[in-house]
C-alpha cells in the first residue's frame, strides 16, 4: 500500500492529471481534494474485509484468484477485465470479487449484492475491497485481457453497447460521451472511445468522489449512467456492464495505473 505521505499522493495525482488541466484552477482543486481524501482508510478497511472469515464456509477471500493465482494481489487489477476459465466468462474486478464470495465463501449472490453501493457514512464491502485490491497495482501499466476469443467478443460487445441508443430518451453512452469539447451543465464530458480521454480516467478507478464524499467503483459508474439514461437498472457485474468496462479499459491500455484516485 502507498504511504500516507501527502507528497507521494500529490505527485501521483498530478501525474494522472491531463496536461491541459495542469495549468488550470482545476489542478489546484484536485490538489486540495487529494490532500484531504481518505482513500487510505478505504484501503485499510478493504484489507480487513479481504482477510475476514465470512459466509457459510467461514473463510476469507485470501484464496481468491484474481487472475494471477490464488491470493496474488500485486498487479492483479492491471490485467482486469479478463477471461476466467473457471467461470467461462470475462470478469471485471467487482464481478470477480462477487464470484469469490459466492464460490469460496459460499455466500448467496443475493446476500453478497444486497449493498454493493455504499454512502458517505459507510462504504460498501465491495467498494472497500475494490480500493484495497486496485491499490496493489498502483504504478503498474494496465494490460486487460485481449487475446482470448471471449475477450475479443466482450470488447466488440462493449463497443456496440457504447453507441446503442435505447430507452425513453433515446440515449446511448455516446449521447453525452461522443463529441470532444462538450459539457453537461458545467461538467466536462470525456470521449471514452479515444485513448487520450480514456487513459487519465480509467487509470484512477475506483476513486474517492469529492462531491458525494464516498468511494465509487466502475460498476457504480455504469449503474448511475444507465439511471441517467432513463434505462432500467443493470445487474451488478452483468455481461453488459463488464463489456462496457472492458471496452473502455482496453481503449486506455498501457496507461500506468494511478489509483485509487479522486473524482469530482
Amino acid at each position: 500500500m502507498r504511504s500516507l505521505a501527502g507528497t507521494a499522493l500529490l505527485a501521483s495525482a498530478f501525474a494522472a492529471t491531463p496536461a491541459w488541466a495542469q495549468q488550470s484552477p482545476y489542478a489546484e482543486y484536485q490538489r486540495m481534494a487529494t490532500e484531504s481524501a481518505p482513500i487510505e482508510l478505504f484501503e485499510i478497511a478493504g484489507e480487513e474485509l479481504w482477510k475476514k472469515k465470512q459466509g457459510p464456509k467461514n473463510v476469507s477471500l485470501q484464496a481468491c484468484d484474481l487472475g494471477q493465482g490464488p491470493g496474488v494481489l500485486k498487479g492483479a487489477y492491471t490485467h482486469l477485465p479478463r477471461y476466467f476459465a473457471d467461470a467461462d466468462r470475462v470478469m471485471d474486478l467487482e464481478a470477480r470479487l462477487l464470484h469469490c464470495m459466492t464460490t469460496l465463501q459460499g455466500r448467496s449472490r443475493e446476500e453478497a449484492t444486497k449493498r454493493v453501493f455504499g454512502n458517505a457514512d459507510k462504504a460498501s464491502e465491495m467498494e472497500a475491497l475494490s480500493a484495497y485490491v486496485a491499490g496493489q497495482s498502483h504504478g503498474m501499466p494496465m494490460r486487460p485481457g485481449t487475446a482470448h476469443a471471449k475477450e475479443k467478443a466482450t470488447y466488440d460487445l462493449g463497443r456496440k453497447l457504447y453507441f446503442h441508443r435505447a430507452g425513453p430518451w433515446d440515449f446511448s453512452c455516446a449521447s453525452c460521451h461522443g463529441e470532444e469539447g462538450k459539457r453537461i451543465r458545467m461538467s466536462g464530458l470525456p470521449v471514452l472511445f479515444k485513448p487520450e480521454y480514456a487513459r487519465p480516467l480509467m487509470s484512477t478507478w475506483p476513486a474517492y468522489r469529492v462531491s458525494t464524499s464516498k468511494i465509487v467503483t466502475l460498476q457504480w459508474r455504469m449503474n448511475d449512467c444507465y439511471r441517467q439514461m432513463r434505462m432500467p437498472e443493470p445487474l451488478f457485474g452483468s455481461d453488459t456492464t463488464v463489456a462496457l468496462i472492458h471496452y473502455m479499459t482496453v481503449t486506455a491500455e498501457g496507461v500506468v495505473y494511478r489509483g485509487p484516485g479522486i473524482k469530482r
Binding site: 482543486y29 459539457r183 479515444k194 445487474l235
Partner: protein, 208 residues
Amino acid sequence: MRRLLPLSIAATLAACAAPGPISERPSVAAQDLESITALLKRDFRERGQAKMDRTQLDEVQRICNLNADNPPESLAKPLEEAQMKAIKFPNGSLMGDWKNGERIAQSGRGSMWNDKPGVQQGGSCYNCHQLSPKVEAYGTLGPSLAGFGKIRGNRPEIQQYVYGKIYNAKAYSVCSQMPRFGHAGTLNEQQIKDLVALLLDPKSPVNQ
C-alpha cells in the same frame, strides 16, 4: 470548495477542445440489435418507473442504430412524417408561463428510476442548452438558445415549431440527440407550453 469547481472546469474546457473526427462507431446489423436487446432484457431489471419495456427499440431507435444516426433520406423522411403525425398540438395559444418554464428547464429530474412518477418532471434543458444568459451552468451538447425569441418573434408558426420540437425532436430530424419529451411522456402539454413561453415570451430571461 464545491463552488469553485464550475468556473475552473469551464476554463479547463476552453483549453481542451481538440479537433478530430469520430470514426469509432461500429456498424451494426439487425442481428446485432436483436442480440443486444436480448442481452439487455437478461442483464437489466425494472426499478421504480423504469420498466423493462424501455429496453425495447422503437422504429426510430432501430433505424438510427442501424445507420449510425445518419439514415438515407428514403428511410428518414417517412419516419419523420410518422413522428410528426403523432404530435398532439393543442388548440389556441401555445405560450404558457415562462417562469414555470424556467423551473422545468432547470430541473434535471424526470423519468429516472429514482424519480417519483406523477410528480412534476423536469426537462433537463440547461444540461445541454444555454437559455437565460444569466445562468452560467449550462451544457453545450445542444445549440445555444439564448435570445431565441428575440431573433424569431413569437408568431403562431414559431410557437408551433417550438412546441413540436420539444414534444418530439425526431419529427424534425429523425436521429436528433434530443429526447422526445412529449412523446416519451416526460413532459405534459402545460409544461411544454411553459417551455415555449420560456423561449418565445419577450419578458422571458432567455430574450433579455
